[in-house]
């Protein structure tokens, strides 16, 4: 299916401001960086997690542990014929036990990816709590999942898709809404 870009939701500056704001919110809510860790969901959530972690370091001067989750092996739609998933590496180099973990993804949609990520994360141990940060919440949840930090609420129709483009993966930096053409 081909998609046609319709409108820009965020530009480079907009993304930066949002991530900076989320970094502040995380610190405000959790008081400090003690026992804090951040885990991004591959692919783009991982880059967003790294950026938030670097903003936290800018603000507090403390480096928090960063991890990356590949949720492929936990997906509930593996048997559906929607393109073969490629398994990439999950990297959690710290002990999740008793940590407050900020889980980061680019777009929150049905909530199924988050469900997978929660299952996988908990297989690494028992965190004290898990909080969810997303750049875009586009609605249409199919599971009872709610983000703790939202970059921007973007109401969408089911025919539309939200594309997040980041320097690290796409050589440009913006969020756009596209529609099947």
């Amino acid at each position: 299916m081909e998609f046609k870009e319709k409108s820009q939701v965020l530009d480079k500056e907009g993304i930066k401001r949002i991530l900076m704001r989320i970094a502040h919110e995380i610190l405000e809510r959790n008081k400090a960086t003690k026992d804090l860790a951040i885990v991004g969901i591959r692919n783009r959530g991982a880059y967003l997690a790294e950026r938030i972690a670097s903003y936290i370091k800018e603000i507090e001067g403390e480096k928090i542990p960063i991890g990356t989750l590949d949720i492929t092996l936990y997906r509930d739609d593996l048997t559906h014929a929607s393109g073969q998933p490629v398994v990439r590496e999950t990297k959690i180099d710290f002990d999740v036990e008793n940590k407050t973990i900020i889980l980061v993804d680019d777009v929150l949609f049905t909530g199924r990816t988050i469900r997978c990520a929660l299952d996988e994360l908990i297989d690494f141990g028992r965190p004290k709590s898990i909080q969810l940060a997303v750049l875009i919440d586009r609605g249409h949840r199919e599971l009872p999942i709610r983000p703790d930090y939202i970059g921007k609420n973007v109401p969408t129709s089911l025919k539309e898709i939200v594309e997040v483009h980041l320097e690290e993966t796409d050589k440009r930096e913006e969020v756009v809404i596209a529609e099947a053409s």
């Binding site: 398994v87 590496e89 999950t90």
Partner: protein, 312 residues
């Protein structure tokens, strides 16, 4: 991003039938599974609800355990069928056994058989995925894949590596699968054995042949030492164990003439003091136990890919 190669095959029958990019796909997936097996909870739900049958018509400890564990790490249910306890003793054919197993809604059959081509025949008869765990003298694809995975993690690549496969080439499915796989990646493969254990025409597979063990070792980046399969010597033409050890065994003395960093592999089980001395098997160049660990990751990758194959 370059377009990802998709896995489209129902079965894994041999490396002869795979393209280089398909092999790369398996090795890449195995990297991720290697991470999974080092976690505290070494299990992922990717094959939850699926069933894997290990159908072994030949004795095997490590391959069977490795496949069983690989399936369990992926949350599949596993059944082991061993020949002594099954109705094969009552004369049931492989195909009948396969179809009966399939009637129980099994998803994957891992088969080891003493006849070359048996997994192929089975794969045509059943809808379930078939994985060749060694057939006669033909192929042992997962062993070669784990050897390649081990080499790749040691050297970062397979291209232009000099690999010598030493030992009973004639009766070795491990050798054949390794030759198919390694030559597809542009490695330089040499086979070395007593004349009688070199199959005629093996050089047509793109390998060099030598009977001189020192020559096989001298330039090699890695050697893959095969087990002398004395049980297959029906006509009594094999050299004696003593004779073989003297002329072909990998010893510390012989390794002095090799590259200092040479990687020593063996698919196991080792006949210590026949094809390899104990000092070498347990020595600093040996990666034999790493091979076993990597085998688990590779078999997880294979089971995952064939059960998630995309329709062509």
């Amino acid at each position: 991003m370059p377009k990802q190669v998709k896995w489209t095959k129902k079965d894994l029958l041999g490396l002869e039938y795979l393209s280089r990019s398909e092999i790369e796909l398996i090795l890449q997936a195995a990297e991720s599974f290697k991470e999974v097996i080092t976690r505290k909870i070494k299990k992922v739900p990717a094959l939850r609800g699926k069933t894997v049958v290990n159908l072994f018509y030949e004795p095997s400890t490590r391959t069977r355990i490795s496949f069983e564990l690989a399936a369990k790490r992926l949350s599949a249910d596993v059944i082991n069928v061993e020949v002594e306890t099954s109705s094969v003793k009552k004369g049931e054919t492989l195909i009948d056994t396969g179809r009966n197993v399939e009637a129980l809604m099994i998803d994957v059959i891992v088969v080891r058989h003493n006849c070359s081509g048996a997994p192929y025949m089975l794969s045509k008869a059943v809808k379930a995925s078939v994985v060749n765990a060694g057939d006669g003298w033909h192929e042992h694809p997962t062993q070669a894949l784990l050897d390649m995975f081990t080499l790749k993690s040691k050297f970062g690549k397979l291209e232009d590596l000099k690999i010598s496969i030493i030992g009973d080439i004639a009766h070795s499915r491990v050798a054949r699968s390794n030759i198919w796989g390694l030559t597809k990646f542009g490695a330089n493969v040499t086979v070395c054995a007593p004349e009688i254990l070199i199959p005629k025409g093996i050089e047509t597979l793109g390998v060099k042949v030598t009977n001189d063990i020192d020559e096989a070792i001298r330039e090699a980046d890695a050697i893959n030492v095969l087990r002398m399969q004395f049980e297959r010597d029906e006509s009594g033409v094999f050299p004696s164990k003593m004779e073989y050890f003297k002329k072909f065994a990998i010893t510390e003395e012989r390794l002095k003439k090799a590259k200092k960093e040479i990687v020593v592999m063996h698919p196991g089980p080792i006949n210590r003091g026949v094809e390899m001395s104990t000092e070498v098997a347990d020595g600093p160049n040996s990666v034999i136990l790493e091979q076993v660990t990597n085998g688990l990751a590779v078999r997880m990758a294979v089971l995952y890919l064939i059960t998630h194959a995309e329709k062509e």
